[in-house]
């Protein structure tokens, strides 16, 4: 199993979640976060903004769903065909174990 953490634009959150749900990836955890990326924030008329609001989506998925998940996020979180600075990042890390609390069953 894998943990996918995607940092995306907050205005793209609804669309990405809807498309993920449509593709069968319904389960998700969403956090509002602030952060900056490689461009060191944005500079507007001399003022640097480096705590840019973003949405962090966390999803636990099976290994074989990774490609689909990444493709969907890349497709729907981009602001244009070629993408733009600030569209976000996707991090993928391994999960050793998963437990569902209501049943205690060790699976997704």
């Amino acid at each position: 199993m894998l943990m996918v953490r995607a940092i995306i634009r907050p205005e793209k959150k609804e669309e990405v979640l809807a498309e993920l749900s449509r593709a069968g990836f319904h389960a998700t955890t969403v956090v509002d976060v602030v952060g900056r990326g490689k461009q060191k924030g944005i500079k507007i008329s001399g003022i640097i903004y480096d705590e840019i609001p973003k949405a962090l989506l966390m999803m636990a998925i099976r290994d074989e769903d990774k490609e689909d998940m990444v493709r969907l996020i890349l497709k729907y979180a981009r602001t244009s065909e070629q993408g733009a600075y600030g569209d976000g990042k996707i991090f993928i890390s391994p999960i050793d174990e998963v437990y569902t609390i209501s049943s205690g069953i060790p699976s997704l």
Partner: protein, 136 residues
């Protein structure tokens, strides 16, 4: 070293904290998140929740409350939850997971949350600069 990520009900924060102390781990980071689980395939589970919520709504002639509740339950609503992250030694993981499950189980059958266990490559204690297992 493992990182335990547990998503639990908001009103279970207190008992979860207590359970963690009893399991021997006092340290954790927690924050508010929103989320949804997998779609519920068994309609009778939703029906029970609906009945409960309708009782809470009280007298309702217009059917407005029922409509709201139905939308809430079958829609793509994101529900508020508390997310705990706990750093633990490998051998403690089973005890902690057990404690969290015991504290958070309800008879609702859905929505009690998930626990994820991720490997951690290294940790550093800022105060002393200790690394690895000693920093946990």
């Amino acid at each position: 070293m493992k990182e335990i990520i547990a998503v639990v009900r908001m009103n279970k924060t207190g008992v979860t904290k207590k359970a963690l102390v009893e399991a021997g781990v006092a340290g954790f980071t927690a924050f508010k998140v929103e989320g949804r689980g997998k779609l519920v395939t068994n309609p009778s589970l939703i029906l029970e929740r609906k009945k409960e919520l309708l009782l809470m709504a009280g007298e309702d002639q217009t059917g407005e409350a029922e409509k709201l509740i139905t939308d809430f339950l079958v829609g793509t609503t994101l529900f508020p939850r508390r997310l705990f992250t706990i750093l633990a030694h490998d051998e403690e993981v089973a005890t902690i997971v057990d404690a969290i499950i015991q504290a958070n189980k309800t008879c609702n059958n859905v929505g009690d949350g998930k626990i994820f266990i991720l490997p951690i490559v290294d940790a550093v204690r800022v105060r002393t600069g200790e690394t690895g297992e000693a920093a946990v």
